[in-house]
């Protein structure tokens, strides 16, 4: 039996879990290609340990697919995957979400994080979400990797479609496995009755709310959409919910008016005998937290940005 390995990495929501699941469980495939930007960002789960799947290519050949968690707070897992589980992988697939504010920043970030790893194996930059945001385009990515002095293959993919994920696998494996009938593998993946993937397991996923509750001093969390609608929440007190919603409304109202002074990044209310309520806004969503009085604003800010991986500031990348 020949066992090949491929490691997938990339930022939160880039599509690592979807890619690996695409090859594994056709029933969970999301076929709605018109999902709006907003819908895409309302992702409920984030991977906290790793993704793992196995795809059978032939009787005597299979490929193990590993995915890293996207959040930087789990970066210790990246190391473990790179140095242990997938130390002998044939290549690294860097999934890049084209709707990110600066997708090239993600490229630079991961290329730096996986620098040593990439030097010894192939790198594929697989651009996702290009149906929503077509720019930057193929040539822009080529220019970016040239600038970084990288040898990499750029592919535009939609990881919800198993065939495009398979094309990534083929790109890497066909160099070392000449006998695989890729068309047949593709058919098998798409055939409900013939699961080609024997084993799929997102080792552990947690929701945004769970992740919030695991942070020090956080008593409750609420995730709001652009119209102040509640996407998820575990804050029971109606008073707090109403106040947090009004804070989000306020930040949207200010955002519409004040290009002169900048964007509202957060609003916090507190007092001597009350729980602190805070609201952290992003373009089309907000994270609201209810916390103990003694959690300082810098800590809250750090927790919020970690939770939603918003304004991650890697100074050396700027």
């Amino acid at each position: 039996m020949k066992d090949h390995k491929i490691l997938f990495t990339g930022a939160v929501c880039a599509g690592k879990t979807t890619a690996i699941r695409s090859l594994s469980d056709i029933e969970t495939l999301d076929t709605d290609a018109k999902a709006s930007d907003v819908t895409v960002r309302r992702k409920k789960n984030t991977t906290i340990a790793m993704d793992y799947g196995v795809l059978e290519l032939a009787q005597d050949s299979r490929v193990h697919l590993y995915g890293t968690p996207g959040q930087e707070r789990f970066s210790f897992m990246w190391e473990m995957l790179a140095n242990q589980f997938a130390h002998d992988a044939i290549g690294l697939v860097l999934l890049v979400d084209n709707t990110r504010k600066d997708p090239f920043r993600d490229v630079r970030f991961y290329v730096k994080e996986f620098g040593e790893y990439i030097r010894k194996r192939r790198l594929i930059i697989a651009v996702t979400h290009s149906d929503i945001e077509p720019n930057p385009g193929y040539n822009d990515y080529l220019a970016c990797i040239r600038e970084l002095g990288l040898m990499a293959t750029v592919m535009f993919v939609d990881v919800r479609n198993p065939k495009t994920v398979l094309s990534i696998v083929e790109e890497l494996i066909s160099a070392v496995e000449l006998e695989i009938n890729w068309a047949e593998v593709g058919e098998r993946i798409l055939d409900h009755n013939g699961f080609s993937l024997d084993f799929y397991k997102p080792i552990y996923e947690e929701t945004l709310l769970d992740a919030a509750m695991n942070k020090r001093g956080i008593l409750g969390a609420m995730h709001l959409g652009a119209e102040q609608e509640v996407l998820s929440s575990n804050i029971d007190e109606q008073q707090s919910v109403a106040l947090l919603k009004s804070m989000h409304k306020l930040s949207s109202a200010i955002a519409q008016k004040s290009e002169l002074v900048g964007e509202v990044s957060n609003i916090v209310v507190g007092g001597p005998a009350v729980r602190t309520l805070s609201m952290f806004s992003d373009d089309d969503q907000a994270l609201c937290l209810c916390s103990e009085r003694d959690v300082s604003l810098p800590v809250l800010k750090q927790q919020a940005s970690d939770l939603l991986q918003w304004s991650r500031e890697n100074d050396y990348l700027a």
Binding site: Q239, A242, L250, G262, G270, S296
Partner: protein, 116 residues
């Protein structure tokens, strides 16, 4: 009252400040180039504290980070809000401690005015 605001402003902590009574600015040290911030603070803190009151909540301070600044609003007494603007990077505890110090002065001033 503007003299009191001079005591509020403190290098590296509070750059500008103003005193609000409802929609009225009683006194302000906001410079002309910072008037936009003052306007936003006025509307925002009115709105926030109105909601706090409506919900019967007890919150008496609010902070809003906008661009590279932080606007902080403190209720000194019902209907009276002290607004302070700091750099976003400035430690919020410094702002709070300083405001606690001058809060007494403000209240004393209010009392004096009433007695006058």
């Amino acid at each position: 009252m503007i003299e009191l605001l001079d005591k509020v402003d403190k290098p590296n902590v509070i750059e500008n400040s103003c005193l609000l009574q409802g929609k009225e600015v009683l006194a302000s040290s906001f410079t002309p180039d910072k008037k936009n911030h003052e306007t936003i603070a006025k509307q925002a803190f009115n709105y926030v504290f109105l909601n706090v009151a409506r919900m019967n909540a007890k919150h008496n301070e609010a902070h809003l980070e906008i661009g590279d600044k932080r606007l902080s609003g403190f209720i000194l007494k019902p209907e009276l809000v002290l607004v302070c603007m700091s750099d976003k990077a400035c430690n919020i505890a410094l702002v709070r401690d300083h405001v606690a110090e001058v809060k007494k002065l403000f209240l004393q001033e209010q009392v004096n005015r009433m007695l006058a």
